[in-house]
């Protein structure tokens, strides 16, 4: 996590209010943990916390990709539908039986998921850049397309992994653990570490932030703005594919409602994590923290009896608004 440390150091030096904004999501997370412990002693147990973090994996991983898109001044509304589409195709391929050996089958299916995810992301990227269509509209369109294709593939029902051999071999990818740490948590950390490295440490990451900060300045500096933007969508597609690789072994089934509203959750995680929706500022670890916050709020609501769990969606919606208000007030103090 050297990236995290370096990032915090840089921020501390540059401006007081930015410092606050970078730290705010982590403070909120700590506050929630305390709140949860007060509400229900079971909450703070290691088992429960590992469970909560594991369940945040899908959103956390997708949101890492969303951090790239949003930092570059874009937006991707299609991620939830893309999960359903990519996972469905992956399961259908596994069901096709073109490869007899279960292990080989899983490896090829995983590679296929990565390719499809990247291709979906590339499509989003090219529509927004080469087609110069507002990302909101472009991905609203592909959101409908990916969701519709999934509904058609499943004929309105479910697509279920039929081979018990494959399922039993693949299950540990979600339910397994290494040294007591569940695999999904490891995947979150690895994805975020790679993401933070790319965004904060590499030339490409610097270009992403420059494009999001001021497209004209980036263009006049010789940066290939369209290419940088397109690649952020490909990264988003890759992250969706990685999330699918965890999703398939968990349920072994998809339907037309898979990943519904996940785009809202991913964008919420990014914004709660301190990334500016207008672009130019990206905080990968903040995003992961934001995804934890969303899941923990839901968990606290389940464990306590204060609020009906049917209100989770409303609470998550409120969180994004509160997070924006907090960011705004931190800026005004300068």
């Amino acid at each position: 996590m050297t990236d995290l440390a370096a990032d915090a150091r840089k921020v501390q030096k540059s401006w007081k209010d930015i410092d606050l904004r970078a730290v705010a999501p982590f403070l909120a997370l700590a506050l929630l943990l305390i709140l949860g412990a007060i509400a229900n002693p079971n909450f703070i147990s290691i088992d429960n916390l590992l469970n909560v973090v594991t369940r945040s994996a899908f959103i956390a991983i997708i949101a890492v990709g969303a951090t790239f898109v949003i930092s570059a001044g874009g937006l991707d509304l299609s991620v939830g539908s893309m999960v359903a589409f990519v996972a469905s195709l992956t399961i259908m391929f596994m069901n096709s039986g073109v490869i007899a050996d279960p292990a080989t089958m899983i490896a090829v299916a995983m590679a296929l998921a990565i390719v499809i995810g990247s291709a979906c992301g590339l499509a989003n990227g090219l529509i927004t850049t080469a087609g110069s269509i507002e990302p909101f509209i472009a991905t609203l369109g592909t959101m409908g397309i990916y969701r519709g294709l999934t509904t058609w593939l499943s004929q309105g029902g479910a697509i279920t992994l039929r081979s018990p051999d494959i399922l039993s071999l693949y299950r540990p990818a979600y339910f397994g653990a290494v040294l007591g740490i569940p695999v999904p948590i490891i995947i979150i950390v690895v994805t975020a570490a790679v993401g933070a490295f790319v965004l904060n440490r590499t030339r490409y990451g610097r270009h992403v932030l420059a494009v999001g900060s001021n497209e004209d300045v980036a263009r006049y500096s010789g940066i290939l703005v369209e290419r940088v933007r397109t690649i952020t969508y490909v990264i988003q597609g890759l992250c969706v594919a990685v999330a699918c690789l965890l999703y398939v072994p968990r349920l072994g089934s998809t339907s037309a409602t898979t990943g519904l509203m996940w785009e809202l959750q991913a964008i919420t995680a990014v914004v709660v994590g301190g990334t500016a929706l207008r672009g130019g500022v990206g905080r990968i670890w903040g995003t992961v923290c934001g995804a934890f916050i969303l899941e923990i709020v839901g968990n606290i609501m389940l464990l306590s009896n204060f609020v009906s769990e049917y209100l989770i969606g409303a609470i998550q919606g409120a969180i994004i608004i509160v997070a924006m208000l907090v960011q705004r007030s931190l800026v005004r103090k300068s």
Binding site: R203, R219, Y220, S221, G222
Partner: protein
């Protein structure tokens, strides 16, 4: 004084607006100290000083954008506290901002009347507003279609629209904060005439400018600020521009422009032949020699910026470009940067620098390839480069990690120059390099440009300041309506010659 005719309590002949011992601090920093200024009816009072001397702060206090820490404002001799710019406008004090504050997607007329739209019954009266806006702009000596969206206008045209908008407010005191910074001589002349007109109506004018000959021409009284204090105040007819410069800087400005010796028979490095940028420049041909400083003069809208943007791949253009005899095509700036051409935009805040980032990130943005250590960016190497750039270009930053938005305009320009020099270009195109920059920094920029030319680099300077082009260039190309209409060199390089070519007035071609 017809505007105050209904108020008998006013002492005739007293100042319209008076600041008494104003001080303003931002945190521990006192940027203005005991400054007193006043403007009488029908008087143009120029406030001059280097960047950071406190001129803009003083004007913002007068126009209600800021509250003074100490001291008071008097309008017609009565002490007032302004609650904000709207309050100031209600009392007849209007400010023409240095920055352009217009809605880019609205038309000229919609901007001019924004917030005070004319209406006909339930709907806005577009026809009346268009006509009013056209007239308001025409009064400033320009002809801009009121139906065009502001996004399509050049910076100078936007500046004129902004002035037109402000002058529509009923006013008794008008404050101009560097109104001519982006205007050409013709437009400047028209604006000065407008100021003379409103002065004749008994309006008081505060006028800030870095262009001292202009101050000499229009002002009745000159107040010089240095480090937040008034260091001198004289009737304008007792001062020559050179005296003003001396008072501003606090020392003798011996020579603004560096000494350069003209060389004959330069080796041609860049050849442009029959180059067109659709809608902006047609069939342009010119050559640039090694170590040469070539000026591009012309009126606003002559297509100089667009031509250069087309050459480096920022706009679609067609024609032949040869570098050292080899034909080249630049589909994107990336390609022209690699070929050794750097273009510094006239819009340093909008297109040159990332204002919300620090100096280091900005410095290396165009040359990140040089700062790679395997996959990573080598931050230590970036810091070394920043230290060197700060020394080399005398960038004055309080802290190295401050944001670029906190730098003064002059230091931003130096940083932009440093940034583009990181790409080690052999051809440097600078667009309005000294716009809105104080005289001390201007002198430095000229020295840098001359030094770069002495290193054997070739430089193209686009500027609306004729004196500047004549002072530093070896040769000046003059453009009019997208075409090169002439070149001046040697003893022919004088303002008159250039203006005649730029306007086409003498040859009778101009409309």
């Amino acid at each position: 004084m017809k505007m105050t005719a209904g108020q008998p309590s006013i002492v005739p002949g007293g100042p319209l607006l008076e600041a008494v011992a104003l001080s303003k601090s931002f945190g521990p920093v006192e940027v203005l100290k005991d400054v007193s200024v006043a403007v009488d009816p029908g008087e143009v009072h120029a406030i001059i000083g280097e960047n950071g001397a406190g001129k803009s702060t003083l004007m913002k206090l007068l126009a209600g954008h800021l509250q003074p820490t100490r001291g008071e404002l008097r309008i017609d001799g009565k002490t007032v506290t302004l609650t904000g710019p709207v309050d100031a406008e209600r009392r007849g004090t209007v400010l023409v901002h240095q920055e352009i504050l217009l809605a880019p997607d609205l038309t000229v007329a919609q901007n001019v009347y924004l917030g005070r739209e004319l209406s006909k019954g339930m709907v806005v009266d577009d026809r009346a507003m268009n006509e009013g806006a056209r007239q308001a702009v025409r009064n400033l000596g320009a002809d801009i279609d009121p139906d065009v969206v502001v996004r399509c206008l050049s910076i100078a045209q936007r500046q004129l629209v902004q002035i037109a908008r402000v002058l529509l407010v009923p006013h008794r005191v008008v404050i101009f904060d560097e109104p001519t910074a982006s205007l050409t001589p013709i437009e400047t002349r028209a604006l000065l005439k407008v100021i003379a007109d409103i002065r004749a109506k008994g309006v008081g004018v505060f006028y800030i400018s870095h262009r001292l000959p202009e101050v000499k021409q229009i002002a009745d009284k000159v107040t010089v600020l240095r480090d937040g204090r008034v260091v001198a105040r004289h009737p304008a007819n007792e001062l020559q521009p050179v005296d003003m410069a001396r008072l501003m800087v606090g020392r003798d400005v011996a020579k603004l422009y560096p000494d350069r010796h003209a060389e004959g028979g330069r080796q041609t490095i860049l050849e442009v032949e029959d180059f067109s940028v659709p809608g902006f420049a047609q069939h342009v041909s010119f050559q640039l020699g090694k170590g040469e400083i070539l000026g591009f003069a012309g009126l606003v809208g002559a297509g100089r910026t667009e031509l250069m943007e087309g050459l480096v791949g920022l706009r679609p253009g067609r024609g032949a470009i040869r570098i050292n005899g080899k034909p080249r095509q630049f589909p994107h700036v990336d390609a022209s940067l690699k070929a050794g051409i750097a273009y510094l935009s006239e819009d340093r805040k909008g297109k040159g620098l990332l204002l919300a980032e620090d100096l280091r990130v900005n410095l290396t943005l165009a040359s990140l390839d040089k700062f790679r250590r395997s996959l990573q960016i080598d931050r230590a190497k970036e810091r070394v480069a920043l230290d060197r750039a700060i020394g080399e270009f005398d960038i004055r930053a309080g802290r190295k990690d401050m944001l670029v938005s906190q730098l003064s305009g002059g230091n931003q320009q130096k940083l932009l120059l440093a940034k583009m020099m990181m790409t080690d270009p052999s051809i440097i195109i600078v667009d309005e390099p000294t716009r809105g920059i104080d005289i001390g920094t201007k002198e430095q920029i000229y020295k840098f440009i001359a030094a770069l030319a002495a290193q054997g680099r070739s430089i193209i300077v686009i500027s609306s300041e004729m004196q500047e082009l004549i002072g530093i260039c070896d040769r000046i190309m003059v453009m009019r309506s997208g075409r090169i209409v002439g070149a001046v060199t040697g003893e022919h390089m004088n303002e008159n010659e250039v203006v005649v070519l730029a306007t086409g007035v003498k040859s009778g071609e101009a409309a």
